[in-house]
Subunit: 134 residues, 2 copies
Amino acid sequence: MFGQIDHIGVAVEDLDDALDLYRDALGMRQQHRERLESQGVEAALVGVGDGHVELLEPLSPESNVGRFLARRGPGLHHVAYRTADIESAIGAVRAAGLDMIDEQPRGGVQGSRVAFVHPRATGGVLTELVEPAH
Amino acid sequence: MFGQIDHIGVAVEDLDDALDLYRDALGMRQQHRERLESQGVEAALVGVGDGHVELLEPLSPESNVGRFLARRGPGLHHVAYRTADIESAIGAVRAAGLDMIDEQPRGGVQGSRVAFVHPRATGGVLTELVEPAH
């Protein structure tokens, strides 16, 4: 169903500070930066191998990532697995009895299509399915 | 410095239930299961692409993962980046001014050598460096 770990998502207080850490201290290459109003975040991607780290700064305290930061502080927010066919992956997850947050794909960064599995279905791990742009 | 995301670590209450989820519902292949007394966990690896998910059930409430579960509940515990030379990676991380939990590598699952960066140095993300067994 899944090809590989596509990325981890990290909730950060300040995107520029986080880029200093991942790019300058950990030596990853910055790939992309995008404001995603629909998800309430400004996101930056830093590459590591064929995957990446998605750094997420909330646009408001009421956004999902804003509430995550208030509740748990900065840190690991989600994991995303890559799939070539997100409709099939959603179907397989639902057929296994797991609840989706998104039963239909929505737009992610860099033109990808994404859907989140409900964390209560996956042992508290917020799990994203991502089909990269072709 | 890093080749790719090697794995994510997930804290779980019950390893068999977690294997039912990752193997049977999400379709990942079980690769390995090992009791690591030195880290206070029983670990199971399920493969996804060239990486894996490391499921961690604590051997006692006083272990690191046991305390994590008591404090935050089950969920994402750490991320690990693969390196071909862990001594060099530790040196580079320290040279960038980041604190290590392990200044010398120690034994991880499947004969790997691992070292953790202190999460206060990495924005709350517990970050592991891993050199796989050759």
